[in-house]
């Protein structure tokens, strides 16, 4: 039995939430005045009672977005996952069906797992060739300002994108961070406190994809180019270490295309603070505002 269901269809030529249901511990809120009245978008907020997921919570939500509609699914604040009690995991699943020429944006705030928490989430998107989809999936190391860095027991996030037409997988991504691996302590994250993945797929995002690829390439190339200048200085000074005296970048990002004809783009980001990732998302997804009616991250 689903904890939540939202259906968006065209009614009178406008994207309209025709069904909306949720039961404890999930709540779905759809404010009508998120964007300008000219924008044809439905915004749905997934809210949890108590501001987070408690050990043993199971939430499953389904969303169907009809042909030519636009919908945004987001959260009010970061999803906190509280510590596991009796090793019980909290899990969340989301299934979204995106119609022809429809646009769906899943733009939550990050997941923050407290020490000893166990969390699993699975998101499955079924899309048509003409659908457009943007998904942001990100996690922080925890309450890192209190010293809880990557102290959760397990975090498991899976994202699948499947074609409606032939049921073929376009993207199958699964990230599992679990105590007991060789990456003791910090899951190999070193000083980075946030990891994010942004997926952009579909013709409506072609322009955004090209823009992001160019900007990320420019920024990261500058970062690496500066290393070459440092190397010359290092060689002159005969320093023994390989870093040439430079510290690690605060934010690292890279882009990869995926899918048939490279129609999709995955951007992966690692950063030392959540603020840096918010800034990255705000800057690179700003051009989505006309499509979504409002800026996704501010």
């Amino acid at each position: 039995m689903e904890s939540g269901l939202a259906v968006v269809d065209k009614v009178g030529g406008r994207s309209t939430l025709t069904r909306c249901f949720a039961k404890y511990p999930l709540k779905l809120i759809s404010p009508t005045k998120v964007g300008s009245c000219k924008s044809d978008v439905v915004w749905v907020y997934m809210v949890s009672f108590g501001g987070g997921m408690v050990s043993g919570d199971h939430v499953s939500c389904a969303m169907s977005v009809g042909d030519d509609c636009t919908a945004v699914l987001t959260t009010q604040a970061s999803t906190k996952v509280y510590r596991a009690v009796d090793s019980k995991s909290s899990d969340q699943s989301l299934q979204v069906r995106v119609g022809c020429n429809a646009l769906v944006a899943v733009l939550p705030h990050p997941v923050t797992c407290f020490a000893t928490a166990k969390y699993k989430q699975k998101q499955v998107f079924s899309v048509s060739r003409s659908s457009s989809l943007v998904v942001v999936d990100w996690v922080t190391s925890g309450r890192y300002e209190c010293g809880e860095k990557w102290a959760f027991n397990s975090y498991n996030s899976t994202n699948h994108i499947i074609s409606n037409e032939d049921q073929q997988p376009l993207l199958l991504d699964s990230l599992v961070l679990e105590q007991g691996s060789s990456m003791k302590g910090t899951y190999g994250m070193q000083d980075y406190q946030v990891i994010a993945m942004i997926i952009l797929l579909g013709h409506k995002f072609e322009h955004v994809q090209n823009e992001i690829q160019e900007k990320v390439k420019k920024k990261m190339s500058e970062e690496f180019g500066m290393r070459l200048t440092s190397k010359r200085q290092h060689d002159r000074d005969m320093k023994p270490d390989l870093t040439y005296g430079r510290s690690r970048p605060e934010l690292i990002a890279s882009c990869s295309t995926f899918g048939p004809k490279d129609a999709g783009l995955v951007i992966r980001v690692a950063a030392t603070t959540t603020g840096l990732v918010y800034k990255f998302l705000k800057e690179h997804l700003a051009s989505l505002e006309p499509l979504l009616g409002a800026s996704p991250y501010y």
Partner: protein, 243 residues
């Protein structure tokens, strides 16, 4: 007695087959086999330039993390391909892995190495016509990408190596290629590289035990930072490796 002689013959035949198997195993793992593995650094080059790897300790840690990620993400494909080395399973694994390798650099590296390995396998192990059939089908169809892990698993399967061998061997190849990349990037000398290889082998065995024999549905990434960094390979100002 007749019965004893027949048993002795059987034991000798079985031992002889095992010995032949060993020659094939050694050849498959020998770095001299022209499979192009040495064109790829598994993100090591980018890791040095992002300062994630800066000294012998961080190099050893990084190599171990890559091996863990190889275990969690790719061993299920090697396993399945070894136990079911047939065309249908191979297509399915190749298609699934193509959707799973979301990192463009590692996806291309996997296809390059897989294609080279299949070409070599079909040309060298001529007693197994199935490999030649695989190659011919791959050349005709653009839907088959020829990813490395499934091809490696199939070759091990058709040559009669067990799935324990194939998964360990896959980890061994990854470790071998990373040590080679480390020496060519001047992170460690040849002798230091050999000592490092031996030290890491113990952890590698632990990782094989942890991640072996799992279904493909459980394949996952365990090193997200590695993925971000490996994706930066294309932005490097100067580079020695393809990925």
């Amino acid at each position: 007695m007749e019965c004893d002689r027949s048993m002795d013959n059987k034991t000798m035949q079985s031992a002889s087959e095992d010995h032949n198997l060993q020659w094939n195993q050694w050849q498959l793992l020998d770095s001299i086999l022209p499979t192009g593995g040495f064109a790829h650094s598994y993100g090591l080059e980018a890791a040095v330039q992002t300062r994630l790897v800066s000294d012998p300790d961080t190099l050893e840690t990084h190599i171990t993390h890559i091996l863990e990620n190889t275990g969690s993400l790719l061993l299920p494909y090697v396993y399945k391909a070894t136990i079911s080395p047939n065309m249908e399973t191979w297509f399915e694994l190749d298609r699934t892995l193509n959707a799973t390798l979301t990192n463009e650099k590692s996806r291309r590296a996997s296809i390059a190495q897989g294609s080279a390995l299949l070409r070599v396998g079909a040309s060298v192990f001529t007693e197994i016509p199935f490999l030649k059939n695989m190659r011919e089908l791959a050349l005709k169809s653009d839907k088959i990408k020829v990813h490395h892990a499934p091809v490696f698993g199939v070759i091990c399967g058709v040559l009669g190596f067990g799935h324990g061998f194939s998964q360990r061997a896959y980890m061994f190849l990854t470790l071998r290629d990373m040590i080679s990349a480390s020496t060519r990037l001047n992170l460690v000398g040849p002798m230091g590289g050999a000592a490092l290889h031996h030290r890491v082998a113990k952890s590698a065995e632990g990782l094989v035990k942890r991640w072996m024999d799992r279904p493909v549905e459980e394949a996952c990434q365990t090193g997200p930072l590695l993925d971000v960094v490996q994706g930066c390979h294309g932005y490097l100002f100067t580079r020695l490796f393809c990925s």
